[in-house]
C-alpha cells in the first residue's frame, strides 16, 4: 500500500527535473544572443561583416572572450564602435586597424602572422617535423641493428627466460 505514493513522487521528480532542464536550455540560448539580433536587419552584407568583425576582436576586460561572446561593458562599447564604423562605410581592414592602432595586436583574437609571431604559428608544423625526424632516425638506426631473434636459443631456454 505504500508503493503508489512513492511512484507519484518519482513521477513528480522526473517532471520537475525535465522542466528544470528545459528552463536551463532556454537560458543557455539567451546567453549567446547578446545584441547581434538587431544589427543591420535590412542589410545582410553588413550584418555578415559585423558578425565576422566581432569574432575577430578580443574583449580586453575578460581577455579570453571575443567581443561577440562577452557581456562586459567594454565589449559592448567595442561592438558599438564596429557597428558605427560599418554604418560609416569603413572597410573591415580599416575597422581592425582602428582597434590595433589603439590597443595593439592583442585586441585581435587571432594573432597576425608577422616576425614576432612566426614561431607561434609555425610551432605545430615545426614540432611535427622535429618529432618525425627523431622517429625516423630511431627507426633507421634500429633497422641497422643485428637481428636479435637469435636462432641459437632453443625453446627450453626461452621457457626459462619467461619464468
Amino acid at each position: 500500500m505504500r508503493k503508489p505514493p512513492r511512484r507519484k513522487s518519482l513521477l513528480a521528480q522526473s517532471l520537475c527535473g525535465s522542466l528544470l532542464a528545459l528552463t536551463l536550455t532556454l537560458f543557455m540560448q539567451f546567453a549567446h544572443a547578446i545584441d547581434t539580433e538587431a544589427v543591420f536587419p535590412d542589410n545582410p552584407e553588413l550584418r555578415q561583416r559585423y558578425d565576422y568583425l566581432i569574432h575577430q576582436l578580443r574583449c580586453l576586460q575578460c581577455r579570453s572572450e571575443t567581443i561577440a561572446d562577452s557581456n562586459a561593458t567594454l565589449a559592448a562599447d567595442f561592438r558599438r564602435q564596429v557597428r558605427e564604423s560599418l554604418a560609416a562605410g569603413k572597410s573591415n581592414e580599416e575597422i581592425l586597424k582602428f582597434m590595433t592602432d589603439r590597443y595593439g595586436d592583442y585586441v585581435l583574437y587571432n594573432p597576425p602572422f608577422k616576425p614576432l609571431t612566426w614561431l607561434l604559428w609555425s610551432a605545430p608544423v615545426l614540432l611535427i617535423l622535429i618529432g618525425g625526424t627523431c622517429a625516423g632516425i630511431v627507426v633507421v638506426r634500429r633497422s641497422h641493428l643485428p637481428d636479435n631473434d637469435s636462432p641459437d636459443l632453443n625453446p627450453d631456454e626461452l621457457d626459462q627466460g619467461a619464468s
Binding site: 567594454l74 562599447d77 592602432d101 590597443y103 595593439g104
Partner: protein, 177 residues
C-alpha cells in the same frame, strides 16, 4: 653523454622559461599609443555642462590625463595620491571621467577633493576607446607637442610617479629649452 645532456638541457631551458614567465606581468597590456600623438577630444566639463573642455586646452604644455570613474575602486585608491601630485604643481592633471554619471562624478569630486584642473565628461566611453583605455584608472603623460610619453595602468602611487613620470616629464621639459 650527449644523448643525456640534450634532454636535460632542454628541460632546464623549459624550467627557466616557466620560471621567468611566472613573474611576468600578464595583466598590463603594452600601450600601442606611446610615442604617438594623443587623440584629441572635446567634451563637456563634469562640473559645468555648458563648458567645453578638451585636449586642445593643453596645446603647447605637458599634461597628465587620468581616466577615472566614480564606479572605479582603483580610482578611489589612488585619489589621495592624485591630490598630492596636484598640490606639487609640477604638471596639470586633466581628468577623463569615463562611463560615469554626472551626478555621481560631481559628488565624488566634492567629497574626495578635486585634483584635476578640469574633468571631461565621457559617459559613452568614446574618448576612452580613442585613448586605448580598457579599464580605469589609467594615467597618461603627454608632452608639450601632444605626444604620449608614458602610460600607467592601475592605481597611481607616489613611487610610480617619482620613478616613471617625473623623469620623463623633466626630460621632455629639458629638451624643449
Amino acid at each position: 653523454m650527449l644523448r643525456y645532456l640534450i634532454p636535460i638541457g632542454l628541460f632546464a631551458a623549459l624550467v627557466g622559461f616557466f620560471f621567468v614567465s611566472l613573474h611576468r606581468d600578464k595583466e598590463t597590456l603594452p600601450s600601442a599609443l606611446i610615442g604617438k600623438t594623443a587623440p584629441a577630444f572635446h567634451l563637456s566639463s563634469v562640473q559645468d555642462p555648458t563648458k567645453q573642455v578638451g585636449t586642445s586646452d593643453f596645446a603647447g604644455h605637458p599634461y597628465v590625463l587620468n581616466i577615472w570613474g566614480s564606479w572605479c575602486i582603483g580610482c578611489r585608491e589612488e585619489h589621495a595620491v592624485l591630490l598630492q601630485i596636484a598640490k606639487r604643481n609640477e604638471v596639470p592633471l586633466f581628468g577623463l571621467n569615463w562611463k560615469d554619471e554626472r551626478d555621481a562624478a560631481q559628488q565624488w569630486l566634492q567629497q574626495l577633493g578635486n585634483p584635476y584642473t578640469e574633468s571631461a565628461f565621457d559617459p559613452e566611453g568614446r574618448a576612452g576607446i580613442d585613448w586605448g583605455a580598457y579599464g580605469a584608472p589609467e594615467t597618461f603623460l603627454v608632452d608639450a607637442n601632444g605626444t604620449i610619453l608614458h602610460k600607467h595602468v592601475a592605481p597611481m602611487t607616489m613611487e610610480i610617479w617619482e620613478r616613471e613620470f617625473l623623469p620623463r616629464l623633466r626630460q621632455a621639459g629639458a629638451q624643449r629649452q
